[in-house]
Amino acid sequence: MKIEHVDGENRGKILLYALSTCGWCRKTKEFLSKLGVEYSYIYVDLVDDSEKDKVIKEVRKFNPRNSYPTIVINDKECIVGYNEDEIREVLGK
């Protein structure tokens, strides 16, 4: 599975589950980059079929509707959808 990494200021473990075709996911990525935080992202639509169920199960743990973008912070907090205010608040930026 391809997990992309973006360097930046460490604000905890930030993992973005996104779709490569989605406009809100793109905006979320751009916003995280603008904030300058370190994060990783997975394009779930591009994950191999053999691993896709596993990834979806992981997303559902935090966001049962399996919608994108879903940001998981430190394996516990979760932000669903593109919401600048919520991202700023949770990341303290």
């Binding site: 793109r26 639509d45 399996n66 994108y68 959808g81 593109y82 919401n83």
Partner: protein, 167 residues
Amino acid sequence: MSEVKSEEIENLYKKLDSEAESFGYHLNSDIDMTKDLIKGLLVNEKRYGYLACPCRLATGEKSRDLDIICPCDYRDDDLNEYGSCYCALYVSKDILNGKKKLGSIPERRHQKDEKRQIKEKSIKNNIISLSKPVWRCKVCGYLCGKDSPPEVCPICKAKKERFEIFI
């Protein structure tokens, strides 16, 4: 996967824009965002064989993804409640005029499954004697009383497979 050509994006944009305007809908006026979404639709068409919503995870099985083929079954409800559809390809007049702000909205899909099942049951239990079944377009709500639904919805152009038996 073969790349989507800019010409293909341009053509689909023109088609969707003219269809939207003639049927009382509006495409997002943020052209860059709209064209990116249209590109996503075309990527999905090449990948899955149909124009699945770019902001939802398709399964690749058409029968399971029918409700999220653009325009999706949730577009009109989302336009009414939030002023845009889920991916923001379609927006309301208020958003177009800047009276309302465009933003990411909650996923409506699967939310009403339970409600729908109850409703379907109650319809089945209240068998009304009609000379023809009534078919409903799940995209725009168009109703027609015929033995089978039309090939293409005369209102929103959704295909036959998007119709359900209403009564």
